[in-house]
Symmetry: C2
Subunit: 274 residues, 2 copies
Amino acid sequence: MDTRAIGIWDSGLGGLTVVRAVAERLPGERLVYFGDSARVPYGTKSAQTVRRFARQNSEFLLTKGLKLMVVACNTASALALEELQELLDIPVIGVIEPGARAAAAATRTGIVGVIGTPGTIQSGAYNAALRECKGGLSVVSRECPLFVPLAEEGWLMHPATRLTAEEYLNPVKQAGVDTLVLGCTHYPVLRPLIGEVMGQDVRLVDSAEETAREVEARLDKLNLKSADESAAELECYVSDMPSRFRQAGELFLGRRIENVALVEYDKAKENPWQ
Amino acid sequence: MDTRAIGIWDSGLGGLTVVRAVAERLPGERLVYFGDSARVPYGTKSAQTVRRFARQNSEFLLTKGLKLMVVACNTASALALEELQELLDIPVIGVIEPGARAAAAATRTGIVGVIGTPGTIQSGAYNAALRECKGGLSVVSRECPLFVPLAEEGWLMHPATRLTAEEYLNPVKQAGVDTLVLGCTHYPVLRPLIGEVMGQDVRLVDSAEETAREVEARLDKLNLKSADESAAELECYVSDMPSRFRQAGELFLGRRIENVALVEYDKAKENPWQ
């Protein structure tokens, strides 16, 4: 039994959907979450910058004593996962490969849709992961940059969100997909609307559940599991606005968040030229 | 004659509308611009974080040898201007006070609308500046967090943008404003649509022109002007994606941008725990 924590991070709040799934599946584990709310969003930024942020976030969480780390951000999983796996000496799990595996298993027609941020879609990471899971799949992908701000505005069923969803999703639907990967941790809150636009014949896949399954499998394999439910807890850190995180985070986590602290990476460099 | 540069910064691209106005009014001045594209947007972040970013951006630009600095970001002007004016020993000009002055001069009914990011509106900076310009003004303000991502998506006349604008602006219109301050440097690109929703009787004010006027007045007063048009140039720095800045920036600047370099503040701390 290994009581070190599992570290989970995202650019903001969305990764809490992964925290929720991991906590449900592994109630004996101690979880430490970091949300980079001072630099959110990542999805419209360059690979170089996302990789730099990913190294910094990982190194912060490592100071908490981890046995395994989850990159619960699709953009960072797409752009930085391999580098982190090389740099760190603990297992690092992303959200792309689990989501792709679930979608490859679900599709009947072999035509799979993927929606995500510009960073995720442009990386081609889902295409590669889907084709690795199952040869011969046809993948239709679409950047949806407005979904994150619309979700954060809370316009989950607003007419403007519906128009946006129709514009983004109609070409994906017309391509005949039977499975759609929600390739961004923010999108599950838009699931009802996305489901209406895609129609009931299209199966929606989000990576949270599948990622939690992967975390469990990896801990089992490496004999790193903890079952000490009395010690299980969730400790959260953010780089901005802990009170907003506490409130809005409940939408993603499904329960109250008690324990949120502010961290400022660049504090020591506040006056770098003085 | 003082040939040191004027420094202008924003969270991203929008401040180029101010660069444009300053360059037109003061063709003999050397301009240095910084856009914090790695951490954009500022409008949904806390005062504490925006102030930290503002100090860092200012200190970077100061290394370029400035005689005057313009904070061409409404959110940072609202939250960090006073602190910068205290910290720095050159004049620092924001965009709020010039915009407020133009609106106070324009209104006939005395009812002025202000739209901006959550950070700008919640700060109350426009209310204070407007009332300082002209006692007895009535101010109606509204946060419009989706306008920045809609403008960046290029959906300048899209039906989803129109629905969003109607939802944000109808209450402002119904309050009987005759003047509306576009209190965010991104909003001028949405001006045609905002104008349609508000109706032709409402005058739209953006701060760029008025800010350039203030820059000129301050240089005149302090005898800091340069008239060496042969030396005039624009030097741009961004914290992410210089090529995107070069392309998209033309929309805001109205001409080609030749000279863009990438700067990474936190580079030295890439591996802070090693």
